[in-house]
């Protein structure tokens, strides 16, 4: 049961990551890309938590905290420069 769920979760996260990467590659504007990379970051965080659950460790906890703390800075910076270059 658990292993089947883990496989399903992994596949879903992989597909979601692929979708986000497609949007990063496709654009069309820098803001779309930055938005999609935000989503990709959230998916990476989810994958780290999945890894922690499957292998029963807490190694990446600090990484998850860091992602939620400073993950927004990149997109804020880009958005700021986009508005400034008017």
């Amino acid at each position: 049961m658990m292993s089947a769920a883990v496989v399903a979760v992994s596949v879903m996260l992989a597909v979601a990551g692929a979708g986000a990467i497609y949007r990063i590659a496709r654009g069309p504007s820098i803001l779309d890309r930055v938005l999609a990379s935000d989503v990709l970051l959230a998916i990476v965080g989810a994958a780290l938590i999945t890894d922690m659950i499957v292998y029963r460790n807490l190694d990446y906890l600090a990484l998850v905290v860091a992602i939620s703390l400073i993950g927004f800075i990149g997109s804020v910076t880009v958005a700021r420069f986009v508005t400034d270059r008017r």
């Binding site: 769920a5 504007s29 804020v76 958005a79 008017r86």
Partner: protein, 177 residues
């Protein structure tokens, strides 16, 4: 027996979280413009993360872990709208939206007025200021800042200075035509 119950709860929570990530990806691909995509992008960051953190809490069942997980979610709650607002605002201001998809727009004339005031002030300060939102790397937007031959001819014909200042030379202001 008890173990399997916890396992089932963890599995369901993880599946829900992954579903939210998948929903965000589908939204990113299928929605037609930046601002619609932003709605889809909020989900894995708020609900998806909550479900994954709950799954982690149920799997480990340790009281020490709960405060950290709460901190992770609180920080995500505090920071996610900041980036969403900044990106959305920049997108709106630089006309990354597609006006035909907006049925109601109560901000349009407000921004228009504010930007006109700002532009006038800037133009007073810097006479030859160029205020193009040249942030769009969309290949559909072929504006490069250079004049092509036709435009050069027209510019010479009508008097170069006047033509350079006219709005016809600045497709960035009304990108969709």
């Amino acid at each position: 027996m008890e173990e399997t119950v916890y396992d089932v709860i963890t599995a369901v929570l993880m599946l829900g979280g992954a579903l939210m990530s998948l929903a965000a990806a589908i939204g990113l691909i299928r929605f037609p413009d930046l601002l619609s995509r932003m709605h889809a992008a909020t989900k894995p960051q708020v609900l998806g993360l909550l479900l994954f953190l709950l799954a982690l809490a149920v799997e480990f069942r340790s009281w020490k872990l709960l405060p950290v997980l709460a901190v992770v979610w609180i920080f995500m709650l505090l920071t996610a709208p900041v980036s969403a607002h900044m990106v959305g605002r920049a997108g709106y201001r630089t006309k990354h939206l597609r006006p035909e998809l907006l049925v109601i727009d109560e901000l349009d004339d407000v921004v228009e007025r504010a930007q006109r005031l700002l532009r006038e002030a800037e133009e007073e300060a810097l006479e030859d200021e160029d205020d193009d939102p040249r942030v769009d790397d969309d290949p559909g937007h072929s504006y490069t800042g250079e004049l092509d031959d036709d435009e050069m001819l027209r510019a010479r014909g009508t008097g170069a200075g006047e033509a350079l200042n006219s709005d016809a030379q600045r497709p960035g202001k009304n990108p969709e035509g």
